[in-house]
Symmetry: C2
């Protein structure tokens, strides 16, 4: 198979972790006889530094000409004084729109070897296997108007939560499709007792569920969802929700199993290419020190192989390699615990390659 | 002291837990020589059953003529088919508006005797003492327009997040005032990298902080806030945020210490009366069985004594009584664990009265 991958390292530890994933992809390519080529492009603060904007046209072009996109992370304190519309994270919001990435998929998985680094008790998280599906290009992130106003001589401000029915439909349908291949349960999270948009969301969920008689649909209010994630995360299989609720709940979910530095994500569109990235940030405080954990990005590459290229065996090989490296006791600083062997970013990458 | 308290039992276990708090208030009145009188009124589903609306005018009148309001809980599956604008929880939203309850205060406290019922590890929650201040009468809960629309022949839906500057000011100022009496730290939670309303929120927070040089102000993005609550809740003292973020984060916070059935809340206004209620819901499944935990409502009554009536000593006496009853091993079903003595709602109330 020949595939072209756009690589957007971004800022902070982005460059280092992306490098780890590229090496693992190359190793997989050699072993399974695939040709992966890599086209580098800029995003975030480093794009702003060299071009004046956080998402140059050139980057969009390179992404669109590729079969998949691998992103590191964006942002850093250096850009705190840059005008809001030029900040690194605007690059993220813009690329979602430019590539029409309407759904963000975030697995939260339990790694037995990392249970001790979770803030939760082992019996609460043991076996957690959940997939959060977040709407990514609509809602209050993009609705108009969003502005300051003068109302009766007073300063006021407005943001708008806006959805069209088909935006809701496609992401919920996606959640049901994913549930088919998993534990056959969809939890749709909304705030239907307060928001009109949530009432429509719930109606659409009920309607779409009729096409999936084998899948159980459950509705949950977002405040209850935030509680249930902590109380009993094992109850969840696929969770689907709108953009802002998804932002909050998926970050909450990401810390449950103690493996924030391990979690990948995929953002998908109707036409492709899809975008893959670790869920952690750019961690400017540890950037350039060769100590960041590359596993979330390496696992994002595995997701790419599976979801974008249909290379299930190759993806499973990476996941197995990561697990065996953890079982062998290798840890980067973020997941280090007593009795384990602390390794650098490049050493961790080497171990994964060896284990392949 | 003579005080009149409006009592709104509401639905489900509301009636039972409110009864517990009334008895404790009466006992405190006798012991400290205060006259508390109680004026009952309806709200929620039971109000709908008897009057056709979830918040009758008569209830608002009774509240306004009282020095404080004690609420049980509202809601139940019985009302699932009632039109949205007449549902029990609309009674809650309406009374917040009617009494101008602009800030909801929710302490999350660690009870050493309940540590085992927390989903989190003991070392993460030991000593947690946090106060969440949630804006309660603005934001996306009440902004206009909130409606279905046809846009280019397609069905669409809109909700509006709207704030005036002085709504933001008063709740943030409240948070700073409360921080003065605590650990002198305010964490203001927003989503300033996406929402214009959050940018104004942040500006206002910075401005108000200038009046409180002794208080440390920290800004935190809401997604990070949802993570930090689980990872390291001890870092927080006073947390202040807008209505919807507060709804989500305060429910998340409430399950951290394993004492959901123990947590009180106060909703305050500029002119009074304030409203006090347990943070748990109406729990229709266990209603009428005399097994609900009355302690959150009893502790809400303690908050009333302290915050509305300035009766610090009496409030402390209730809190001490509750702690000693827990230390003595008495537990309602929700917080029961091995080796403890399971008691009913009325028995628990008796124990607190005895311990006073
Ligand atoms: C950086 C920010 C705009 C972004 C978001 O809110 O979507 C981030 O939190 C995320 O979840 O990818
Ligand atoms: C019942 C509902 C409308 C309410 C809210 O969202 O404010 C509840 O969740 C709460 O927090 O008191």
């Amino acid at each position: 198979m020949e595939k072209r991958i756009a690589v957007l390292p971004g800022d902070g530890i982005g460059k280092e972790v992306v490098q780890g994933a590229i090496e693992v992809l190359k190793a997989v390519g050699e072993r399974y006889n695939h040709q992966f080529s890599f086209a580098f492009a800029e995003i975030g603060g480093s794009a702003y530094d060299s071009t004046g904007v956080p998402l140059p046209e050139e980057t969009i072009k390179i992404c669109k000409e590729s079969d998949a996109v691998l992103l590191g992370a964006v942002g850093g304190p250096k850009y705190d004084t840059v005008p809001v519309h030029l900040r690194p994270e605007q690059g993220l919001l813009q690329i979602r729109k430019a590539l029409n990435l309407f759904a963000n998929l975030r697995p939260t998985t339990y790694f037995a070897s990392l249970a001790d680094s979770s803030p939760l008790r082992k019996e609460i998280i043991e076996g957690v296997d959940m997939l959060m599906v977040r709407e990514l290009t609509g809602g209050i992130y993009f609705g108009q108007p969003r502005e300051r106003r003068e109302v009766n001589g007073k300063e006021a401000v407005v943001d708008t939560l806006y959805y069209e029915r088909d935006e809701i439909e496609r992401v919920i349908r996606q959640a049901f499709e994913l549930a088919k291949t998993r534990k056959k349960k969809v939890t749709s999270v909304d705030k239907a007792n307060v928001l009109e948009s949530s009432r429509l969301w719930r109606e659409v969920a009920v309607e779409i569920s009729k096409d999936y008689p084998e899948i159980t649909l459950e509705h949950m209010l977002v405040d209850n969802g935030a509680m249930q994630l902590v109380r009993n995360p094992k109850q969840f299989d696929v969770v689907v929700t709108e953009n802002m609720f998804g932002d909050i709940l998926s970050d909450e979910a990401s810390v449950l199993t103690g493996s924030l530095g391990m979690l990948p994500s995929a953002s998908i569109s109707e036409e492709g290419p899809y975008l893959y990235e670790p869920i952690h940030g750019s961690a400017p405080d540890i950037a350039g020190k060769n100590i960041a954990n590359p596993l979330a990005t390496i696992l994002s590459a595995a997701m790419m192989l599976k979801v974008s290229f249909g290379l299930d065996e190759e993806a499973a090989a990476i996941e197995k390699a990561v697990n065996s490296v953890l079982d062998a006791g290798f840890r980067t600083g973020d997941i280090m615990s007593e009795g384990k062997t602390q390794v650098s970013t490049t050493e961790m990458t080497e171990e994964v390659k060896k284990a392949l």
